[in-house]
């Protein structure tokens, strides 16, 4: 666990750079984390991010399949939005913990 300043806000992150407290998340933080991952956030990205945050707050375990059934993106589009790690990168940008999911 470490203190880090992202987009001018002091936040706590874990070893892998995921926010420890999703409550500290802001849109500006999302933009900064996305930049580190070479992702330019579009409206579609935000829709996915809000979906993930909503599900996380409800306590629903997140999987790629759930995102694919969200009606926002299909799985192929999800991979295109967050290349190289759709679920982990989107979660990181959304300021929620890395999903402990194998599917």
């Amino acid at each position: 666990m470490a203190e880090k300043t992202i987009a001018g806000t002091a936040v706590t992150v874990n070893d892998e750079g995921y926010l420890e407290d999703p409550g500290q998340w802001t849109k500006e933080i999302a933009v900064e984390i996305a930049k580190e991952l070479n992702i330019d956030l579009s409206d579609k990205h935000y829709e996915v991010i809000h979906f993930l945050r909503e599900k996380f707050m409800e306590g629903t375990p997140l999987t790629i399949r759930k995102v694919g059934k969200s009606g926002i993106v299909d799985i192929k589009e999800f991979y295109k939005l967050f290349p190289g790690g759709p679920l982990k990168f989107s979660s990181k940008i959304a300021g929620i913990p890395k999903p402990a999911s194998c599917v």
Binding site: E16, Y79, S101, V103
Partner: protein, 168 residues
């Protein structure tokens, strides 16, 4: 757990599935899907009874074996007598129960799982020799199958650094 400090990460997995039970096929699919989720390239090679996983009229009728499986348990944990596994309908019942347990964990049916893997860039291949043996043609295979390969073709895909071949 130190998971993010690997400076020499895995880049590609080539997974061979030669058996047609729920556990063998799903081991293959979970490994492949897990790979593409992490940005690792995945090639799948289905051979012998593993071909059932990508054969249209077989892929959604996969069972687990209720005989000769000493790890099989009753719901609740009591041992499952092999002789029960021989009764008609038991294998189907146990298999249906296993599939419903998996559905609860958001593990999809085989066709949907294959779609998830190919959506992430994974590629699915059939073994030519096994196809000939089982008298299968390309039209019998799942539509998004990338092709039919010889062993040599498959090995040719398994080059490159940090590539692993996995036999489930």
């Amino acid at each position: 757990m130190n998971t993010n400090k690997n400076e020499n990460p895995l880049k590609k997995v080539c997974i061979i599935c030669a058996k047609g039970t729920i556990e063998d096929i799903y081991a293959t699919l979970v490994l492949a899907n897990g790979a593409v989720m992490e940005g690792i390239e995945a090639k799948l090679f289905f051979t012998f009874f593993g071909l059932d996983a990508i054969t249209k009229n077989r892929m959604n009728k996969i069972h687990t074996s209720t005989v000769g499986n000493p790890a099989m348990r009753m719901p609740g944990g009591l041992p499952f007598p092999s002789i029960m596994g021989m009764l008609p309908g038991v294998e189907a019942g146990v298999s249906a129960m296993m599939k419903s347990q998996m559905e609860k964990l958001d593990i999809p049916p085989i066709d949907e799982f294959l779609e998830m893997i190919t959506a992430g860039g994974g590629e699915v291949y059939a073994c030519k020799l096994a196809m000939d043996m089982f008298k299968l043609e390309e039209k019998d295979l799942w539509d998004d199958c990338s092709g039919v390969l010889t062993v040599g073709d498959f090995y040719a895909m398994c080059g490159g650094e940090n590539t692993q071949i996995i036999f489930t």
